[in-house]
Symmetry: C2
Subunit: 425 residues, 2 copies
């Protein structure tokens, strides 16, 4: 880390001892999983730096932004449009937790049979080890799955929380609800920041978010080449950092990696050999530092070429149109784009099934690993339909249901190894 951030963390009210332990584990974990990789694009050094400063410099930046009267909004879900925060000059950061931290505290509030993602955000918050919670002015939740929907009722007594409602179905009434929730959210953000959102400021927000999506999309698209120019772990890291980093700097850094990957592809330089089995990972989001399954896949002789996930394609697919002369028209454009997100909370959700097949084909994947968190009802139940769909498309599938613990590492290694062996050309 670039300097001693302990005074800042203390000021924020973190539990310094527990936080130090977290950083030690995280640092070791990151070294083992990322720094051990060979032939990474040089541009990944930026992300190594970002990760080393994810609780340091980045938090300092958030506090500096606050000192300039900007607001910091912390979110859990793709459905909260960053464009609106950007239009008010606020900073939006992601809060999803990807580690088994503070679970003993989380389980005082939540059923044991709650998915790790939800327990993790409770744990990070209540164990006072997450500077993003402490640096944020407002936490924004959303009624997506039952787990989050009901957890927010408890969480609202612990943090300054705003909850956005969500529809279950993509019919006209569902669209109306999403639009009215986006308008309510926009008005709330105007009030919070004291900044009136204009056509110009919202267009600027749309532009920044689109450029971010396009930059990530460039890297992701290059992975269809064989050999693939970047590892799945590094690609996931880019997708993860997208939720934390300053969007302009991030976009610039990702475009540099895309340039580098383009050259690699042109020169037929890959991060693995051409013979390496190619895997599409599909399912639940993987928040930092949830690198378990990708690490298992890529240390068992395969390479990941795509993420059909919220921390992946669901976040960057489809741009928001900037056509329109009123704020309402632009909000309609937001709804158009966000309503296409094919999260398993929707019913029916056939678009996702089609998209998995399409991604597997576009990326020339030899097989799909469906990843779901234990107790995540939407993704676990939908995995039956994913299985049927991939069977029909004759694409091999391995279904993994796991949590954030390391207890099933032996079993995961065995299952993934057997799957990789099976899909080898």
């Amino acid at each position: 880390m670039s300097q001693d951030w302990a005074p800042m963390w203390k000021e924020l009210g973190l539990d310094l001892k527990a936080h130090d332990e977290l950083l030690n584990v995280l640092g070791k974990f990151y070294n083992d999983i990322f720094m051990s990789q060979k032939d990474r694009p040089q541009g990944m050094q930026y992300f190594d730096f970002v990760m080393s400063e994810v609780h340091g410099l980045r938090i300092k930046e958030l506090l500096d932004a606050k000192a300039q009267s900007r607001k910091v909004i912390a979110t859990f879900c793709l459905y909260i449009p960053e464009e609106i925060a950007l239009a008010t000059n606020a900073v939006q950061v992601g809060l999803c937790g990807g580690a088994e931290m503070g679970f003993n505290i989380a389980e005082k509030y939540l059923p044991r049979n709650t998915c790790s993602l939800i327990k993790s955000f409770f744990g990070f918050s209540e164990a006072k080890i997450c500077p993003y919670f402490e640096a944020s002015d407002l936490v924004v939740g959303e009624n997506t799955c039952d787990g989050k929907k009901k957890a927010y009722e408890i969480f609202k007594d612990l943090r300054n929380l705003y909850v956005m409602d969500m529809p279950n179905m993509k019919h006209e009434k569902g669209r109306e609800l999403l639009k009215s929730e986006y308008i309510k959210y926009l008005q709330m953000m105007e009030k919070l920041t004291g900044k009136k959102i204009t056509v110009e400021s919202l267009k600027k927000g749309i532009h920044i978010a689109n450029e971010k999506r396009k930059a990530i999309g460039r890297v992701m698209d290059l992975r269809k080449h064989n050999p693939t120019p970047i590892s799945g772990k590094d690609a996931l890291l880019i997708n993860q950092v997208a939720f934390y980093d300053d969007p302009l700097r991030f976009t610039d850094s990702v475009n540099k990696i895309a340039d580098e990957c383009e050259k690699r592809v042109k020169n037929k330089i890959g991060v693995v050999s051409k013979e390496t089995p190619r895997i599409l990972v599909s399912g639940c989001p993987m928040a930092v530092p949830n690198w378990k399954v990708p690490h298992v896949i890529e240390t068992n002789g395969a390479v990941i070429v795509g993420e059909e996930s919220c921390v992946g394609m669901r976040n960057i697919r489809n741009l928001v149109s900037d056509k329109g002369n009123t704020v309402e028209q632009l909000v309609d454009n937001l709804v158009d784009r966000y309503f296409k997100i094919d999260c398993a909370i929707f019913t029916p959700n056939k678009d996702r099934l089609d998209h998995i097949v399409q991604m597997a084909k576009d990326l020339k994947a030899d097989g799909v690993v469906h990843y779901s968190l234990q107790f995540c009802t939407p993704y676990n139940t939908e995995s039956h339909l994913v299985e049927n769909t991939l069977q029909k498309a004759k694409i091999p599938l391995l279904k993994i249901e796991t949590d954030y613990s390391m207890e099933d590492m032996g079993q995961l290694n065995t299952r993934v190894q057997a799957f990789v062996e099976m899909i080898k050309k």
Copy 2:
């Protein structure tokens, strides 16, 4: 049973061997749990008869109704308004399963970590042991919890299924959604039955459903007296049979029990002694033959005086107004009533918390047993708020999370016994 129904069951396509096994278990279970009780109201004999014929005479009645061109609608949830089915002269029956049957088949479609209620309806359907599925023209589902919402996507390929959408929140848009879904449902039912719903027919449906609620309400209200005139198991049975039986005959039979219970109260005759600890059960619905927890409670020295549950007060609380001169006005009345149902799928759901306290006080309960099915995220998560609320109200609480298996009977007996000991006056 009054006659040999095997030919009917065969005709319906049931798996006769598996179905016989179910009936044997069910019969023995019923005898042990219900017939062993002392001092039951005489009127319960009707319910003993109904239960002995639940797969026999009642199915014959459904088939007779169909022979007269009436339609049979099978539902899982309180939010499907029986008034609409009644207005089309259709028969509505409940489908929720309360036994661990066909789970091995259900788990071919659903995650193992799915609640027993959902696995049970899949199991009963796909093991071909439920004549209600086979006798129904249409199964009506609804987007309540994630488990059901996503399970219906799979179930729609197995049965003729109509799914009603539901809101997450009780705001204006939520109400609009429910109303539009009720209108869509009404139109679908008109098409299915070939019967135009009129103000008159809908008022008739409202009347029948209200009378049913009032009759059950009379019995439930009498349980506030000490000693209580009826056991919790028998009261639950009345609530359960409400979903299967012919509504007019049912209402009549329940009113007779209410008359009998009134006399008992007047004469200070109870089903247990005045000193017996009184318990309110709150939480997930208990579908036939899910009598496990009530049996444990009432064989450990306590008596149940109320059910804060879908198979209980949530089903009968609040009547539908029959004021109105148009079908739309009456649909508005339906929405008014059904929107008050305080299921844990809603967020926030403070009404339920208040109602538990109110019921506990009205019924003079010495304690509350919160009953939830394992993997039922809405009720399990909400139980934290129930706990906080009851603590504030100084009402003792025992939280039970269980499933349909008998494996935890020893543990349940121990925990309930200790709780009953604790709340003894």
